[in-house]
Amino acid sequence: MVANERRTVDGSTLAAASWGVVFLLVVLLAVPWFMWRSATVAYGLPLWLWWHIGWMALASAVFYVFGRTAWGIGVEP
C-alpha cells in the first residue's frame, strides 16, 4: 500500500498538482476578495479594477510560461 503510493507520487504527478494549484490561484484571485466593499479610486478607476487588470496580465504571463515549459502535463497520456 505504502509502496504503491510512493510509486504514483512521482515527479510528473507532483508537477501536475503544482500547476493545478497555480491555476486555481490564478482563477480565484482574478477577483480581489481582500478588497471587498472597498471604493478607493486611483488614477481614475477603482483600485480593485486595477488589481484585476494587472492580474489578467499576470495570468497571460503564467499561461505563456506554462505553454513553453509544461504544456501537456496532466493531459497527454
Binding site: G44, P46, M56, E76
Partner: protein
Amino acid sequence: MNALTLQLGIVGAYLIIALGIGLVAYRTTDRTAEDYYLAGRTLGTVVLLFTTFATLLSAYTFFGGPDTSFALGPEWILVMGTMDGVLFAVLWYVIGYKQWLVGQSGGYVTLGELLGDRFGSTGLRALVAVVSLFWLFPYVMLQQKGAGLAITGLTDGAVPLWVGAGGITLFMILYVVISGMRGVAWTDTMQGVLMLGLVWAAFAWVLSAVGGPGAATAALREANPEYLALGGGAYTPQFVLGTAVYIAFGVTMFPQINQRFFAARSKEVLTRTFALWPVLVLLLFVPAFLLGAWAVGLGVDPGDGSVLPALLREYTPTWFAALVIAGALAAMMSSSDSMLLSGSSYFTRDVYRPLFGAADREALLARGGVALFATASFVASLVAEGTLVQIGNTAFGGFAQLALPVVVALYWTGTTRLGMYAGVLVPQVFYLASVFVPAVPETYLGWPAAVVGMLLGAALTIAVSTVTTPGVREDTSVLSGSRAD
C-alpha cells in the same frame, strides 16, 4: 448622408465582404465533411483566437455586457474576466487540448461522436447531441430575433421584424452553405479586429468628451457611490464566483465552441491561443463594460434599448455611432453562423446518421442541415413566446450541466456508459426544474442552481460508474490518443 443610409450601407458592405470571403473559402474547401465543419483542422493562432471570441461574445461586448454593467455595476468586468479570461482558458487546456488530441487520432468532428465511440453507445452519442440541440436551437432563435429587432430599430420600423429576421436568416443560410468553417472563421477574424478597434475608438472618444477617466468616475461616484465599491447589491461572492464558473463550463459545451477544440492546426496554436486569451478578454471587456457603468454617472437614458448605442449617440458623431451599431449587427450574425454550422453537424452526424446510416454525400446533407436548422429557428423566432425564450436565456446553465460528466469521461477510465447516462440526464432534469418549476429553488445558500446541478452531475457520473461494470463495447483506448484510425 443621413444615419439610416449610412448604417444600411455599412451593413450591406459587411455582407458583401463576408460573401466574398465565403467564396474564396469555398474555392479552397475539399468536398469532405471534415473540411466543411472543421476547416480540415488547419486553423492558426490568430484565426482560432478571434473566431472563438467572435463566436462567443461579439455582440455581447456591445450590448449585453455594457447593459449589465449599467444595471448592476462595473463588477461585471470581474465576473466576465474571471469567467472568460482565466477559467475558460484553463478549460481550454483541460477539455480543449484533450479533445484535440483525441480528435486528431480518432478523426472526430463532434463531442457526441467521441463519447459514442468511447462508450460503444449510439444512444449516448445521440443523447449528447439532442441535449445540445435542445439548448442551442432557442439560443439561435434569440439571435435571429435580436438581429431582426436591430434592423427594425435601425430603420425606425420601416422594415418589419419578419423581413429583417428573414433577410438575415436567408443571408446566413447562403453564406454558411457556401463557405463552411473556413469562411466563417475568416470573417470572424476580420470582424474581431474591427471590433477591437471600434471599442477602443469609442472609449477614447467618450473619455475625451467628458474629460478623462477621472471625471467619468467622479460623475459615477456622484450618481451612485455604491457602484465604485467592490461587491454589494446583486454582487454577492457566491453570485460572482458561481456565475463565472457555470458560464465558463457552459461555454465549453456550446457546440460552436466545443467543435473549435478539434479545429486547431497544431499543438503550438493551442499553446499560443491559451496565453493570449486573458489579454484579449481584458482589451475588449474593460473599455466596453466601463462605458456601460460610466453611462450611469453621465445621465444617459437608454430607454427600451441598449446603453452603449445611447451613450455613443450622445457623445460621438452620428457616423461613428452608426458604424458601431452596424458592427454589432454583423457580430450577431457571426455568432449565429457558427452555431448553425455546428448545430447542423450535431444533427447530421449524431442524430441522422445513427438513424438512417451514413449519407452518400455528407457535405451535401450538412448544407441541407444548415438550411433546415436556420429556417426552423427563424419560424420559431416569429411565434415563440415564454418557454422557448426562457430556454434560450438559460442556455449557458443548461450546457454547463454537460461539462463535468464529459471531464470525468475524458480523464477517468473507470467511467461507464450507465454512469454517463445518469450524469448527463439527471442534472438536466434538475436544472430545467429549477428554471421552470417554482417549487424548485433557483439558488442554494446563494449558489446558482446551475452550479449545484454541475456538482450533482459529477457526483452521479462517478458514483454510478463505480457501482456498474463497463459494457463489452466500451473502449478506453479511444482516449489515449494513440488509436490508429
